[in-house]
């Protein structure tokens, strides 16, 4: 079922979709569904030309959605990898005290080394699980070594996020990266 513009005195006043008449209101969920249809199907979902302002609204929605997805994906990839862990990072920071430097003749901050990122050890790449024989409940359980499921899930989520990043159009990336 396609969308169609209803005009009055050469003004676009609503969108017709089957038995429904949809207003041009961004807060209306049917209007948002119309934008989604334009994003997904383009002109195929419309009877006649898509008005320029409606197309612009669909483009803006798509841009904002891609930007949100890109932000989420980059934040996910920026998290440390469970299989690698993360190193400790320290930084020299002023303590708030100052001492007089006789050579320069000026007061200088007293610095101390502060841990700004704690180290996290990588997870064990494999874990042992106890396997029970479903057919013989009385049998002694055996032990099996499998990839650490936490690492497996982490790697899968990272790969999914990386795919989102790779598929994001450059203008969207530039917009978000310059925020």
């Amino acid at each position: 079922m396609s969308y169609k513009i209803h005009t009055v005195e050469n003004r676009n006043v609503s969108i017709t979709h089957g038995n429904f008449s949809i207003p041009f209101d961004p807060n209306n969920i049917d209007y948002q569904e119309c934008l989604d249809a334009i994003i997904e199907q383009g002109a195929d979902c419309f009877e006649g030309d898509i008005p320029a302002d409606l197309q612009a609204a669909a483009d803006e929605k798509q841009f904002n959605t891609q930007a949100t997805d890109y932000r989420t994906a980059t934040a996910r990839v920026a998290q440390y990898q469970l299989s690698v862990g993360r190193p400790e990072i320290t930084e020299m920071q002023p303590t708030g005290e100052q001492v007089f430097n006789e050579e320069t003749g000026e007061m200088e901050d007293v610095l101390e080394e502060v841990i700004v990122q704690t180290a996290i050890e990588p997870l064990e790449p494999t874990v042992e699980i106890t396997v029970y024989d479903e057919e013989d409940p009385m049998a002694e359980p055996t032990t099996e070594t499998v990839p650490n499921p936490l690492i497996v899930a982490d790697d899968a989520e990272r790969a999914e996020a990386q795919t989102v990043i790779d598929n994001t159009p450059e203008p969207v990336k530039e917009h978000v990266d310059n925020e």
């Binding site: 009055v8 609503s14 017709t16 038995n19 429904f20 949809i22 207003p23 209306n28 969920i29 049917d30």
Partner: protein, 365 residues
Amino acid sequence: MTVKITKPQINVREELNDLKKPTGIAGEAMLRADTPQEQFNLIGAGRKNLIINGGMTVAQRGTSFGNTVNQVYTLDRWKVARYAANNYYTTQEAGTGGDPFLNYIKVRRNTGDTSGNALSLTQRIEPINFKAYRGRTVTLSFLYRTGTTFSPQYLRAGILGSTSGGATLGYWAYNAAGVGVNDQQIEPSTTWKQHTISFYLGTNVENLAVAFGVEGPYPWVGTAGSDDSFQIANVQLEAGEIATPFEHRSYGEELALCQRYFYRTAPANTYSWVAWGGYSNTTTNAIVFLQFPKRMRAVPTLGHSGNFQVADGFSVHSCSNPTLADPTQENARIDWTSSGLTIGRVAAVRNANDASAYLEFKAEL
């Protein structure tokens, strides 16, 4: 002059004993409260329920809904969604004598259905109504019962909040990305039981919903029996960590709250008027105007069903395809396609020998 004053004797020990009158924890909390506002909050007084139509009494769309793929609004404000499947039925049911409610909602797989696909009952809450509660704990309370042949191991219920993605939250509630959730698996029960769930409403929550259903690790099992259902009543979401008694609002109040999101004309007979105060601007177009009973949440979508006719003071003409023009949140001009009209004559629209014809206006979340 000497004045002699007599005072009644006071038994100090008895007075002190009176002060030791037994009080419960709640009573002590009331005594400890520093302000009336604190006492007000402790007993959950005043308008407290964020859920609209929690009593399941308002049913402008009807009382029985079935076999719609994906999602459908049912009783007012309540959306039922089944992921990529149909074969489900939703009904408004009447409580029996002794039940602490007039109505409840029943959602079930159709008898004989073999799909395990998720099925949820959801209500999204308008941000303007819950944002004042951000930074506090809110508590969901409800009565539930499962059908005599309820097949899943557990019923699922929860409060869902998200910082974005409002359009998907509540469509299939549990699959919405980036959602903060407190949802719980609940033991089935063929008798009514109350359940409560609390949730810290973060200061950055932009979307909020409550949901009930069958999903994920505990799906529908096997072939549906005659009553593979879950039933929900007296749903309340309120500030605080304690569920207080359900707030019964009058039907009129509840209907008015619902009509901010949805309004359907309710014909009383086969020729009920639906819109008037208009005129014919061409021989094929009649314009009429309609004032909504409440200011709606957004400019609404117009929907229609059935047969209508336009009366122009001299005769009536069949009309169809009502279309919005310049609508607002409060009113709409509706254009009707007809034929044989006379330009400039008045126009009013009514049902055309069709007691079930209606116009509806939707501004749901």
